[in-house]
């Protein structure tokens, strides 16, 4: 089977070289070979934080100095690595999509040709963990106002997936937001509060439903 090579990928065996003349990929190419240019089979990149991690004192609310690249550089790199039409998904969004597919599979399960791969089950379980009750639409509406302050889609998804309890936690774990700390601290605090209230309410509702079911 001939695969179209994407930008930055070596040719697969017997495949055609298909570097786009425009210099960037308009549509992502599904490349069956993961071999990179130069015949490297494996690439390993590390921030090398093992050598530079501080020992001993940790400040609970302090921000750690890290060797992370400049926030915009990291995000730009991620966007360069992915096809242009890629959309970041929150875990709850992915859970809804995958859950819908799984429900369809129940109807299609008579066809032996159609089977779900192992990575589907593990992906669905991962997406559902802790967020199986929250709807992506609701979470999206709560976090949407942060976009006005320059928070990107990737950062919003990371905030949603973190399930953080405090603003300090978010800034510590998503270093790219530090640059906008002054602008977004208060809106972020409000959004996190709303998300926590939502999860607590849904947990209470679930407990109530369970107790009703047991009676």
């Amino acid at each position: 089977m001939t695969e179209k090579g994407g930008q930055g990928f070596g040719n697969s065996k017997g495949g055609k070289s298909a570097h786009k003349s425009s210099g960037h990929i308009i549509l992502g190419k599904d490349n069956g070979s993961a071999k990179s240019k130069g015949g490297r089979k494996v690439q390993f990149e590390s921030e090398g934080s093992g050598d530079k991690v501080r020992k001993g004192d940790k400040i609970a609310n302090g921000s750690k100095s890290s060797q992370a690249k400049a926030p915009s550089t990291q995000e730009c790199r991620l966007e360069r690595e992915l096809p242009e039409n890629s959309k970041f998904l929150m875990d709850c969004e992915a859970a809804e999509i995958l859950q819908g597919i799984q429900e369809q599979m129940v109807m299609l399960s008579e066809d032996p040709n159609i089977k779900l791969p192992v990575s589907f089950d593990s992906g669905l379980m991962y997406a559902k963990r802790g967020s199986y009750r929250t709807k992506s639409l609701t979470v999206g509406k709560i976090l949407q106002p942060l976009k006005i302050y320059g928070v990107s889609d990737a950062e919003i998804c990371q905030i949603a997936n973190l399930r953080a309890e405090s603003v300090e936690e978010v800034f510590c774990l998503i270093p790219s937001l530090k640059a906008k700390e002054n602008k977004i601290k208060e809106p972020l605090r409000i959004a996190l509060g709303e998300l926590t209230n939502l999860r607590d309410a849904l947990d209470e509702l679930a407990k109530f439903n369970e107790s009703v079911a047991m009676d």
């Binding site: 599904d30 993961a34 990179s36 400040i59 929150m90 992906g123």
Partner: protein, 177 residues
């Protein structure tokens, strides 16, 4: 992190499938060939969500097979450096511990585990603090940061750390959801 993207693939179809069900055969073959695979650029292709377009086929000289460019939408899971993930511990040993986040396996070296946690061997090896208040063992959930990724032909393997603020055990094995 999960992504939704549009990818393209050239599907080869044997002449015996030419007929009124050609499109269905193409889609079935696409799902079989693509779902569950992994490559370095896109990560794990978890599920195909739709078919964007199927262009005209081209018969290959000599073989009779036809090639159809198919654009499809899919959900992929791709970890990236610096990402914070919540993973389930799958194995603990003296080198560190392994954890799984979806289809991705992550290794956390003992050098990247807080210094106040030590390995306790036994029936259920674990890393725990001296007072036993925090314990990392099989099936417990941990929040970690990915600091490196290795791309293989069929999988992505990551290196992680829990030696930073707000990282570490989320829940014990008995409370894993």
């Amino acid at each position: 992190m999960f992504f939704h993207m549009i990818l393209e693939r050239n599907m080869h179809l044997h002449p015996r499938h030419f007929g009124r069900d050609l499109r269905d055969k193409l889609i079935t073959k696409l799902m079989k060939d693509v779902e569950g695979t992994c490559n370095g650029r896109h990560g794990f292709i978890v599920a195909i969500t739709g078919i964007e377009s199927v262009d005209k086929g081209l018969v290959l000289d000599g073989s009779g097979y036809a090639t159809f460019p198919v654009k499809y939408q899919c959900v992929v899971f791709r970890p990236f450096k610096g990402e914070i993930v919540e993973a389930v511990v799958s194995m603990v040993n003296k080198m560190g511990f392994f954890a799984e986040a979806g289809p991705v396996q992550i290794f956390i070296s003992n050098h990247l585990i807080p210094d106040d946690m030590e390995l306790q061997l036994g029936d259920m090896p674990n890393y725990s603090t001296s007072d036993g208040s925090v314990k990392i063992q099989k099936d417990c959930e941990v929040r970690l940061k990915i600091i490196g990724t290795r791309v293989d032909a069929t999988e992505i393997f990551c290196i992680g750390t829990i030696k930073d603020d707000f990282l570490g055990v989320i829940s014990d094995s008995g409370q894993t959801s």
